[in-house]
C-alpha cells in the first residue's frame, strides 16, 4: 500500500489489523508518535491526517491509503523547531516528555480549528470564541499529561496562538 507521511512517499505491506500508529512506529521507523493507552483516551498518538488531528491508535492503516499524514517528525527539525515546539521548550511544557509529540500535533490541529471558527464546549457564544485559557484546556482535553504539566502546556500554546493572532491582524 502507498502512504504519504510528512510529505514523503512510503510503500508498506501491512496486516489489516495494523493501526496507523503501528504503521508509523513499527513499519516505517517513525517513533515520535507515542503509544500510551492504545484506546483513544490519552492522545499521545495524535497525528494530523489531511490537516485534522486524530488518534492514530484508533484507525486502521489500510483506511489511509493516499491520505496526507503528518507526525511530529514532519513539523520541525532539531535545527529548525516548529513554533509550538520551541514554545514548549521555552515554557517547560513537559516533564517526562512522553505525551509531548501528541500534545504538539494536537495543538497544531486545534489552532487550525480555532482559525476556522470552530466553537468548543467552553464557548459561551458558538459563533465567535476567543481563545482564553479555559478554551485551550477544553480543546486540549483529549491529551493527557500524567506529569500534569498542564499550566505550562497552556502557556506555550497561548504564546503561539497570540503571536499568530497578531500576524493575522
Amino acid at each position: 500500500m502507498h502512504f504519504t507521511i510528512n510529505g514523503q512517499s512510503h510503500e508498506a505491506e501491512v496486516d489489516v489489523r495494523t493501526s496507523l500508529l503501528d504503521l508509523c512506529r513499527e513499519h516505517l521507523g517513525l517513533t515520535g508518535s507515542k503509544k500510551g493507552c492504545d484506546h483513544g483516551q490519552c492522545g499521545a498518538c495524535t497525528m494530523l491526517v489531511n490537516g485534522r488531528r486524530i488518534n492514530s491508535c484508533l484507525t486502521l492503516a489500510v483506511m489511509h491509503q493516499d491520505d496526507e499524514i503528518v507526525t511530529i517528525e514532519g513539523l520541525g527539525t532539531p535545527e529548525n523547531l516548529h513554533p509550538l515546539q520551541s514554545a514548549f521548550v521555552r515554557h517547560d511544557g513537559y516533564q517526562c516528555g512522553y505525551c509531548t509529540p501528541g500534545q504538539i500535533c494536537s495543538a497544531v490541529g486545534m489552532l487550525d480549528e480555532v482559525k476556522k471558527g470552530w466553537p468548543s464546549h467552553a464557548s459561551a457564544d458558538l459563533t465567535g470564541a476567543s481563545l482564553d485559557n479555559a478554551e485551550i484546556s477544553e480543546r486540549m482535553s483529549g491529551n493527557i499529561c500524567r506529569c500534569a504539566a498542564y499550566p505550562n502546556i497552556v502557556d506555550a500554546i497561548r504564546e503561539v496562538a497570540d503571536a499568530s493572532a497578531k500576524v493575522d491582524a
Partner: protein, 321 residues
C-alpha cells in the same frame, strides 16, 4: 485483535451487499475489537462514500450525511443558528481528536460503556446473550435508572443522539435490496428487554445514509451534561431541551435525556407537565416527577435519581429565564 477480511465499498449499494460490519470513523468499533468485545469477520470500509455533506431541504430542515464528522456538524453555521442544542451536545462529547473522526451515523450506533460489557471475563447479556448481567448487583455507578430489564441495565453513552431525540430527527437507511426507509429516532432504538444485544431496528446489511432534522421550531436550546470530569467524560445525566415561553407561559417543550437509559430517553409526560404552565419550581418539580416515575436505582447508581431531578430543574430554570 482477531483478524478480519477488509473491503472498501465504492457505493452505498455495494456496501449494503458486501456482507460485513461497516466501519467509518472506527473510534468505537476498533476500541472494542482490540479488546475482542467485537470480533467481526469482515469489515466494510464506508469512509470514502459520498455521504459527507449537510444539505438544506425545501421544508427548512437539514439532511445530514451519515459520514459528516461530529466536528463539522457541531461547527456548521446552520446547526449553530437553528439547532444549537445539537452543536452543544456534540461539543460536550469526547475530545477534539475523536470528534474529527467520529461520524454522524456511527455516533448513533455507539455501544455502551458498561464495565462488564467491556470485560470479556464477565457475564454480560449484551455481549454474550445468556451469560447474565454482572452490573446488577455489581458496580453500576454509570448505569440506567429508567427502562431497565432484569437482563441489562446498560446506558446508551451518546450525547448527539440525545439532542437528536429532542429534535425529532429521522434516520434514513438503505437496505441490501435497495429499499430505503425513514425511521423516526424515537422508533430506532430498543429497550433491553430480553434481548439487550439487539440495540436498534437495523437489519443485516442496512446502512444509515442520512439523518434528517425537521424544520427548526425556534425556542431556547440547552444541553446540560453532568459528568465526573469537566471535559472528555461520559454523561452521568444529561438534558437536551428546546423550550418556548410566550407571555409567561411555556407553549412548547421538547426534552430528551442521556445517561439514564438504554436509549436516548424521552417521555411525553415530562413535556405535558410543562406545556401550558407558567415556569416555576412547582411546574419543574412536576416535570421531574413525570421523568422519574418508575425510576429505579441498583445500588451505586442510586444517586442518579436525585441528580436527575436537580439537573432537570436547574436546566428548566435556565432555559425558561
Amino acid at each position: 485483535m482477531k483478524t478480519f477480511d477488509y473491503a472498501r465499498a465504492d457505493s452505498v449499494e455495494a456496501a449494503t451487499r458486501a456482507g460485513g460490519r461497516f466501519i467509518a470513523g472506527g473510534t468505537n468499533l476498533l476500541d472494542l475489537m482490540k479488546l475482542q468485545v467485537e470480533t467481526p469477520e469482515k469489515l466494510v470500509d464506508i469512509s470514502r462514500l459520498d455521504l459527507n455533506t449537510i444539505e438544506e431541504r425545501e421544508d427548512g430542515g437539514l439532511t445530514i450525511g451519515a459520514l459528516v464528522p461530529n466536528s463539522d456538524l457541531a461547527a456548521d453555521p446552520r446547526v449553530i443558528a437553528k439547532y444549537e442544542v445539537l452543536s452543544r451536545a456534540l461539543l460536550a462529547g469526547a475530545s477534539g481528536q475523536l470528534r474529527n473522526k467520529a461520524t454522524t451515523g456511527g455516533n448513533l450506533l455507539q455501544r455502551t460503556r458498561c464495565y462488564y460489557f467491556y470485560d470479556t471475563a464477565a457475564g454480560c447479556n449484551k455481549r454474550q446473550p445468556g451469560s447474565g448481567c454482572e452490573a446488577i448487583g455489581g458496580f453500576n455507578r454509570i448505569h440506567a435508572i429508567l427502562g431497565t430489564s432484569d437482563q441489562c441495565i446498560a446506558t446508551h453513552p451518546g450525547d448527539m443522539p440525545v439532542a437528536m431525540r429532542a429534535l425529532d430527527a429521522v434516520i434514513v437507511t438503505q437496505k441490501a435490496d435497495g429499499d430505503k426507509r425513514r425511521v423516526p429516532i424515537g422508533d430506532f432504538y430498543r429497550l433491553p428487554g430480553d434481548t439487550p444485544h439487539i440495540e436498534n431496528v437495523l437489519e443485516a446489511g442496512e446502512l444509515i445514509t442520512h439523518v434528517e432534522l425537521p424544520a427548526p421550531t425556534g425556542g431556547r436550546h440547552l444541553y446540560r451534561k453532568v459528568r465526573d470530569r469537566a471535559s472528555y467524560a461520559f454523561a452521568l445525566f444529561s438534558v437536551a431541551a428546546v423550550v418556548t415561553v410566550e407571555d409567561g407561559i411555556i407553549t412548547a417543550a421538547a426534552l430528551a435525556f442521556g445517561g439514564v437509559a438504554h436509549l436516548p430517553w424521552r417521555n411525553p409526560a415530562v413535556e405535558a407537565a410543562l406545556v401550558g404552565k407558567a415556569p416555576s419550581d412547582e411546574t419543574f418539580n412536576a416535570a421531574a416527577d413525570a421523568l422519574l416515575d418508575g425510576a429505579r436505582g441498583f445500588g451505586t447508581n442510586d444517586f442518579k435519581i436525585p441528580l436527575a431531578r436537580r439537573t432537570l430543574i436547574a436546566s428548566l430554570r435556565e432555559v425558561t429565564q
